[in-house]
Subunit: 196 residues, 2 copies
C-alpha cells in the first residue's frame, strides 16, 4: 500500500506517448502507424513504449478508456448543472460540438475509429458508459413527460443522430463552418422530433 502515488499514467513520458499515439492513430489510422512512428513523434525510444505498455494495442486501449472516462466526466458535470432532460441533452450536444472543434483528434478517435478492428475485447462505443448515460437522460425525460413515449434507443438515436452525423462530416472536412454555429438549428430539429 505504501507505493508511489503514480497510478497508471506515471509521469511525463507516458503522456507524451499517449498524445503522439492519438495524433498518429487519427491522422493515419491505427494500422498505418508503427510503434517506431509513435516513438519518433513522442520523442521517446521504442523500448520506452514497451516499458509502459504491453504492446501497441495496449496503447490504443489506454487512450480509448481515458477518452471515454473524460467524456463520462463531462456528462456527470452536465447532469449536476442541469435538471430537465431538455437542458441536459442540449448541453450534451453543445459539449460534443465544442469538443469537436477544440480536441478534434479525441473526438475522431472516440466516435469515428473502428475500435472493433484493433480492440476486439472492448465493447462497441454505443454500449459504453457515456452513451448509456445519454440514454438515461432521455429515459428520465420520458418518465417526466418531457419526451414522448417510445423506445429509448430510438429516441436517443433520433435526438443525437443528426449531431453525430454532422460531427463526422466536420471531421471529414466536408463542413467548413465550425459546428457550434449550427447548434441552434440542429437542436431545434432534434428536440422537435421527440418532444412530447
Amino acid at each position: 500500500m505504501a507505493r508511489t502515488p503514480a497510478k497508471v499514467p506515471s509521469g511525463e513520458v507516458y503522456e507524451r506517448i499517449v498524445d503522439a499515439a492519438l495524433r498518429l492513430f487519427t491522422e493515419r489510422g491505427y494500422f498505418n502507424t508503427t510503434v517506431p512512428d509513435v516513438a519518433r513523434a513522442a520523442q521517446v525510444s521504442v523500448g520506452s513504449i514497451y516499458h509502459h505498455f504491453k504492446d501497441k494495442e495496449d496503447v490504443a486501449r489506454a487512450l480509448y478508456l481515458d477518452l471515454i472516462a473524460r467524456m463520462q466526466q463531462a456528462l456527470t458535470e452536465i447532469a449536476g448543472g442541469h435538471a430537465s432532460a431538455h437542458d441536459r441533452c442540449r448541453a450534451v450536444m453543445a459539449m460534443l460540438f465544442e469538443l469537436t472543434e477544440s480536441d478534434r483528434d479525441a473526438m475522431d478517435f472516440m466516435l469515428y475509429a473502428k475500435h472493433r478492428d484493433f480492440l476486439p475485447s472492448e465493447r462497441p462505443v454505443c454500449s459504453s458508459k457515456p452513451f448509456e448515460t445519454m440514454r438515461k437522460f432521455v429515459q428520465e425525460g420520458m418518465a417526466r413527460g418531457e419526451i414522448r413515449g417510445m423506445d429509448v434507443m430510438v429516441a436517443t438515436s433520433c435526438l443525437f443522430g443528426g449531431a453525430i452525423r454532422l460531427i463526422t462530416a466536420r471531421l471529414d472536412g466536408v463542413l467548413a463552418e465550425p459546428l457550434p454555429a449550427k447548434l441552434d438549428e440542429v437542436w431545434a430539429c432534434a428536440w422537435r422530433g421527440i418532444a412530447a
Copy 2:
C-alpha cells in the same frame, strides 16, 4: 472495340473473390485480413487474385465502388417511384433498414468501415453520390415547401442521422430487433423534426 464483352467483372472467379473479401473485411477488418485469407475463403489461389486485381487495396476499391453504385441505383429507382420529398426520403429509410437486414456485410462495409484508412484516394462516404442524392431530395423538398428552410446539410443529417445511428447499433449487435420494425417510429421522429 471487338473485344470480349467481359467488362471489369470478368466471370465467376471475380465474383467469388469480391464476395469473400466483403465478408472477411467486415468480419475481421481490412487490415486483419490477408490475401491468402481471401483466397482460401473464395476457393481460389493467391495468384488468381493478383491476376484480377492490382493489389489488396484494389479489391477493396472495387468492392466499395460497386456497393456505392448499387446504392445509387436503388436511390434512382426510389426517385422514379415517388414524387414528394416525404415519400422519397421515407422510402430511402425503409430501403436502408431492409438492406441492413438482408445484406448486413454490404451495409457494414459501406457505412461503418473507415475507408480513409485503406482507400486514402477515395472521397469520404458523405461526399459520395448516394449521399449527394439524398441531400438533393431534401433540397427539393425545401424548395417545394415540404421541409422548413434551413441549411441542407443540417436538415439531411437530422433526417437520416437517427436511422444511421440505429443501423450501426444493429450492426454492432446492440439491437436485437430487426430494424424495419422500428421504421414507423424513427420516421415519425425524423420527419417531425424538419417538416415545414
